[in-house]
Amino acid sequence: MNLYIDTSLVDWSRAQFALTAMYHWLFVPLTLGLGVIMGIMETIYFVKKDDFWKRVTQFWMKLFAVNFAVGVATGLILEFEFGTNWSNYSWIVGDIFGAPLAIEGIVAFFMESTFIAVMYFGWNKVSRSFHLASTWLTTLGATISAWWILVANAWMQHPVGMEFNPETVRHEMTSFLSVAFSPTAVVKFVHTVSSGWMTGAIFVIGVSCWYLVRGRSLRFAKASLAVGTAFGLLSCAFVMLSGDFSGVSVAKTQPMKLASFEGLYDGSEHAPFTVAGPIKIPNMLTLLATHKFTAFVPGINDLINGGYPLPDGTTALSAEEKMERGRQAVANFSAFREALREGLTAEAAMARGELQELMPYFGYGKIQDKAELVPPVPLLFWSFRVMVGLGGFFVLLILALLYLQLKDQILRFPLLLKVAFWTIPLVYVCSQAGWICAEVGRQPWAIQDLLPVSAAVSSLQSSSVKLTFFLFLAIFTLLLIAEIRIMCRVVKKGPEESEN
């Protein structure tokens, strides 16, 4: 028996992945959002043929380039970490999970990397229409890339379109369309990409407001603010709508995650939504999670103890019962492998049949204590509130700014402009909180109900992973500091030169 797989290895592997993913997600949302905003601005330039809009576009492109580079750097590690740190995961589900990553490379990354070069270096080399197309194709490439990686992530939250093959010891894809267009993937894509749009919008709004407060580059700032707020409002609508659908989806496929968001230990048919502390909105959780006025929303205790009615009329199993079935499934798997080795066809077929029946519980066979099945509730409870609360604040801010722009009163409210500027870091806090909800909420599973993280790791010394963790921490932090400093310089220098 190998002693490598200890909790320290699992924890450090998780920490390293979380670190990489969180850093990556500091840069990607701005790429997604600012990309669309630049596209809109260049389109205005293309239609109006006014050089002012070309200069506006070029200013935001400078910031886009700085941010894009770090996104690319952190993304590389993320892709390969599936192999380096989650080796078992890569084999057990690589048959399904590898495809979206390869398609992402072939379809999206080449589009991004080719057209971004035309976007930056091609102003005087290609026609105006070719250039405009390149700007949009760069953003489209980034968005398609998001689609495929989110398909992969959605599949981890709600695995579909596959079956376990005990001969090859892996899950194998049976329906590509089910994987690529699962409702979970669609909702996740819209929610995530529109949150990236919101990040881009808040960024442009914040920087524009900074100029307005200082009375600098007023024409530029007002024009950028107008695009930022209009696009921001649209983004908010998508974020809220998809967030609502996301709640229903989580309630169906990951009830433990939902219960943890709410800190709901005992479920009910009229579950309230907890705003914070004792402040609760009666029946709201039931309505949000099921879109019905009366429906049972299970709490953490219900999910562990079972015995509550499921939507299909059956009664939920307890965690212990699922773990028992899981252990039986693992035993059937071993029996199948042994029969296969010894050439006992009939025994192998029988063990395989029994395994298939118990396969939905296979992952539970690797859970040693039912307490592992509950993710860290306080972290999720507060992350969820930070995400939703800040999201609501952004909507109000954008509405206020839009109103004042329409009334041409925007310069009379410098405090609001300052608030808008300081909202830039908050939009990052909001989207990080969103990912904490999504990923920590799935624990202890790497793939919901199929593969716990403890069975997904690579066989490494935890000291190696610790070392790479700190190496990445140092490098990514350095890159982040450099990026922020460079961006601040670019913003401080301002677009004035261009405006004159």
């Binding site: 028996m1 190998n2 490598y4 797989i5 380039a65 580079a69 770090v70 690319v72 750097a73 952190t74 590389l76 892709e79 390969f80 599936f82 192999g83 380096t84 989650w86 080796s87 890569s90 084999w91 057990i92 690589g94 048959d95 590898g98 495809a99 990553l101 390869a102 398609i103 490379g105 072939i106 379809v107 990354f109 990397s113 080719t114 971004i116 070069a117 270096f121 091609g122 080399k125 090859t168 892996r170 194998e172 894809m173 693992v330 492998r337 690797k366 403890s454 069975a455 690579s458 066989s459 490494l460 790479t468 190496l471 490098i475 890159l479 450099a482 400093r485 460079i486 601040c488 310089r489």
Partner: protein, 381 residues
């Protein structure tokens, strides 16, 4: 008739082709390693960086796609090699991470490390990326120390299917001299390609004459390392999968592969001729500046043929020195028939992708880069 076996062979072909394209595109790294050697002045160094700065993302994207395609088509390699040869891959990836920001950051104010700091990172990537990739590809022939046991998945305490048998997790590949031969061979190859690229992409007399001098030394060293590796490869004992599925060894295995697959040998020879023609013609001629094209195409074909000979003709492409029966073949490490079918349909998009890349760069590179263009861009910056 599209069979499972056909698709496995097809995907090994695509992986090999991607590997060939990747090595060709490492001319960017080769160029990076030459920035200080070739650039006598700051403005010429800027010119070199600017020229490479337009292409680095193509190389980077090819690397990412290479990884993704390997994952999708041969997931057992992805899980075994990446999870096992941890440090080899991590060092390689880190060198690309620092490259990704260096082009954009090196000229910007407030960049923390200063312009020289980022250029040093480009130098690091310029050496380590081709060298470590060469060493890694060499393990496809000389083997790596791992075991694969799928039954482990039932084990609660140790469920990991692939395990590495060396505590150095990949770094042990660096003590095999034949791996190092290919590592250095690839390094000097991409330096040759880097010089050829500069001569084609930049119009500047000073740089051109320095490139043509540097080219000779790098070319000789490339030949030395590569030929040593290749002759050893032909004469060495290789791994073979018997008809009963048992992995054994065979003397002159790779020579036999070339003889048994004459079309692969032809691709290899064509590649070598292209590489030699592009380099030698540039060295000898005073006006020939298109050497990057035959040399680049030659590189793609040479690497393609080497990779094909690593995996075709009952050869395990990733032999295990710890347990021969754990060796990976294109049959035992591939995705399912269904997934390979899906991925093969997706692969039909590749010619379209290549076409738009070619179209864009044709439009962008119509005129060579000059110092004047650089000055023009800086004044509008």
């Amino acid at each position: 008739m599209i069979t499972y076996s056909f698709l496995q062979q097809y995907w090994w072909f695509l992986i090999s082709l991607l590997a060939g394209l990747l090595v060709f595109l490492l001319f960017v790294q080769g160029g990076q390693s030459l920035i200080y050697v070739l650039g006598p002045s700051e403005e010429r160094r800027r010119l070199l960086i600017h020229s490479l700065g337009r292409k680095w993302e193509l190389t980077f994207t090819t690397l990412v796609t290479f990884g993704g395609a390997f994952f999708a088509a041969f997931p057992l390699f992805y899980s075994t090699s990446f999870g096992g040869a941890y440090w080899l891959w991590m060092l390689l990836l880190l060198s690309f991470v620092v490259q990704a920001v260096s082009y954009e950051f090196q000229s910007k104010l407030g960049n923390v490390l200063g312009s020289r700091g980022y250029r040093m990172l480009l130098l690091l990537n310029g050496f380590f990326a081709p060298f470590l990739l060469g060493v890694t590809v060499a393990t496809f022939f000389h083997g790596a120390a791992f075991t694969v046991s799928k039954d482990n998945f039932a084990d609660l305490a140790q469920p990991v299917v692939s395990a590495w048998a060396s505590p150095y997790h990949g770094l042990e590949a660096l003590v095999n001299p034949w791996n190092l031969m290919l590592g250095f061979g690839v390094f000097f190859l991409v330096r040759v390609l880097g010089s050829l690229y500069f001569m084609n992409n930049i119009e500047d007399q000073v740089l051109e004459s320095r490139c043509s001098v540097k080219l000779v030394g790098d070319f000789v060293l490339f030949l030395l390392f590569f030929l040593t590796f290749f002759v050893h490869l032909l004469l060495t004992e290789g791994f073979v999968v018997g008809n009963d599925g048992v992995v054994g060894t065979e003397r002159y295995k790779y020579l036999h592969n070339f003889l048994a697959l004459p079309w692969v040998a032809a691709v290899f020879l064509l590649g070598v001729v292209g590489m030699l023609y592009g380099s030698v013609h540039t060295i000898l001629s005073k006006s020939y500046r298109k050497g990057i094209w035959p040399a680049g195409a030659g590189t793609v074909l040479t690497v393609l043929a080497l990779m094909l000979t690593a995996g075709y003709h009952s050869t395990p492409y990733y032999p295990s020195t710890a347990d021969a029966q754990s060796s990976l073949t294109i049959a035992n490490s591939s995705s399912s028939f269904f997934t390979l079918k899906v991925m093969s349909i997706v692969s039909l998009l590749i010619p379209f992708v290549v076409a738009y890349i070619a179209y864009c760069w044709h439009a962008m590179d119509r005129e060579s880069l000059t110092l004047n263009e650089l000055k023009g861009e800086r004044s509008s910056d």
